[in-house]
Symmetry: C2
DNA sequence: TAATTATGCGTAAACAGTTACGCAATCTGG
DNA sequence: CCAGATTGCGTAACTGTTTACGCATAATTA
């Protein structure tokens, strides 16, 4: 005996008009007098009529919802790089009145994610690059002709992406170390961060050929143990660039616990500038990527594609060195 | 000339069967032989047929999507309390194959959010308590008979909620200070954190009557300036409970910059145990709320309601004191 | 073996909208 | 003042599913 919600037919008949007119009052298509439109809108508020989402999307073949797919998180570890991008995305879609879905991209959830992008429920997707799953998902979207923008560098077809100039950011760090009289640089980062290492090298200049490269993963613990390894392998190291802020925080923690002064004995620069970076002790000198802007730009790009923009080209987020206390 | 996606009619006729049979192959209702089901599934994969989301949801009147509404974020400030809960929610919905929408709840986005919950596009909502908007949204959901669980304490009607025992958590902190010989306690927190203050008082015991209460807001800056105020107003203060971890981090930063040793001169305990807490220097002693579990429990609760569970009652997340270096 | 029940599947009626088309009525220009 | 254009609105044909109902056929029971 649950009473059904008011539908367009019932609503229209109560007003003594046709469903077409009601529909026109809300949409942008079709001719309708301003007077009747206002009348209908007002009546819809008092009677509580609201167009059914699914019926509308079924016939118009679009939903306006955008889906954001993020890489697997490591249990117990800070995931602030992703969350800050995500909030950027969320804020921007909210402004545009686009509902936003978010989905973690585990191997196990792959089927579900594919279904989401194939069943017609969404109008566009944003995917962070870096995993096999994300690459596969982008391919699926492409085959389905679904608007898609990727965040970060993804090899393969030329897809619309917002990228960060990791190389230049790292170069800035290298240059800064050089300019502040550091002699013996090290770089901590995972295998995906080669661009950063190269940029760092270039920035530091000729003497950087003997740069210490520690294939360091990406977590706090990775930073911590990298520090121990570095101090053992090359105690003369006096400056280090870490591929992200959490790595840097781990590195610093280890250095301090070993009686090493930061930045006195060893200067460290992080990467990303997550929001906590400025509040850490010592406040982190880091390469800022404008994480929230990344989210914003992605959705604006996506919006252009969704609105039919042909060959929309990607964008690069510029980065800058934020000098604080750790270097 | 864009080719339309394969629909059930076309798909069925290619297999020489009726649409009803196809539909039965995917759903759980209706009788169908295992043989034909397998045949249909297999053909659907090779031909690329997939049930249209909107058509299906239109007729079944449910979408399985859950929406998460979070409070406004402060620009530039860490929002890790929310993001960690959100990831908990996201992980849990993903496991259940429920698409998750996330929406910031600004006053300006209120209309949009209401529309989202009234247009039939979602099957349940999770809302964080604490703002006027969230209260209003919950009311709207209730009127629409939409399953809803709130995170935190919300006054008014008895809605299904997962709450944290803030009072007990704070008590633990007070007791710990007392047991470790501290004499002069202070509490830093906003107006919404009264329960914590009361619990703290109770935990510390008789001498806590002269507790210093600083109505301290919730940001790093608030923690920082609270510290300055506290040290001026009551220099003998030797322990402080902060209503969240970021506050604590701000407080510690200020204390250290004033030459105050932590925890030597003043011990500080945070609240929430966001993931960065253990990596801060000094590692934060804090009341752990199990943020990810909160997310998980909320969606499990919501799921029970969505599945028709009558009078599902809320849950309380228990908290524990995690002793690290700051106290 | 006949009567009864169970199974598998097709027909067609929902679900709740949008919009092409057509028809009056009104407006515009010569 | 009349032909043609414009405007406002209704009729009905779509969108792609699910599922109640009914009809054969197969399995079970008496």
């Amino acid at each position: 005996m649950k009473k059904r919600r008011l539908n367009i037919k019932e609503f229209a008949s109560r007003l003594g008009i046709s469903t077409a007119t009601v529909s026109r009052a809300f949409g942008t298509k079709g001719r309708i007098s301003e007077k009747t439109r206002r009348m209908i809108i007002s009546k819809s508020e008092s009677l509580g009529y609201r167009a059914n989402y699914h019926a509308r999307n079924l016939i118009t073949r679009k939903s306006h919802v955008v889906a954001f797919f993020y890489p697997p998180l490591i249990k117990g570890e800070p995931d602030y790089f992703i969350s800050e991008i995500m909030f950027g995305v969320s804020g921007a879609t909210s402004l545009n009145a686009n509902p936003l879905q978010v989905h973690p991209l585990y191997p196990e959830s792959m089927d579900f994610c594919k279904d989401v992008i194939l069943n017609g429920s969404i109008s566009g997707i944003i995917v962070t690059a870096g995993t096999a799953e994300s690459a596969e998902l982008v391919k699926t979207a492409r085959n389905a002709a679904l608007p898609c923008v990727v965040i970060g560098h993804m090899s393969g077809e030329n897809n619309c992406a917002v990228t960060f100039d990791n190389s230049r950011g790292a170069m800035l760090a290298g240059k800064y170390f050089k300019d502040t009289g550091r002699k013996c640089p090290a770089y901590i980062g995972g295998i995906f961060d080669r661009r950063k290492r190269e940029g760092f090298k270039a920035g530091f200049g000729p003497h950087a050929s003997n740069i210490l490269f520690d294939n360091g993963g990406s977590t706090f613990q990775d930073g911590f143990s990298s520090c121990e390894r570095v101090l053992k392998a090359a105690p003369e190291t006096d400056c280090v660039l870490c591929a992200n802020d959490i790595l840097a925080i781990g590195f610093i923690k280890a250095a301090l616990s070993k009686g090493c002064k930061v930045p006195g004995d060893i200067a460290v620069i992080g990467f990303d500038d997550i929001k906590i970076a400025k509040y850490f002790s010592p406040a982190l000198t880091t390469v800022r990527l404008h994480l929230d802007e990344i989210g914003e730009k992605s959705v604006n790009l996506l919006k252009r594609i969704m609105d039919g923009g042909k060959n929309v080209s990607g964008e690069s987020i510029d980065c800058e060195l934020i000098v604080r206390d750790s270097a």
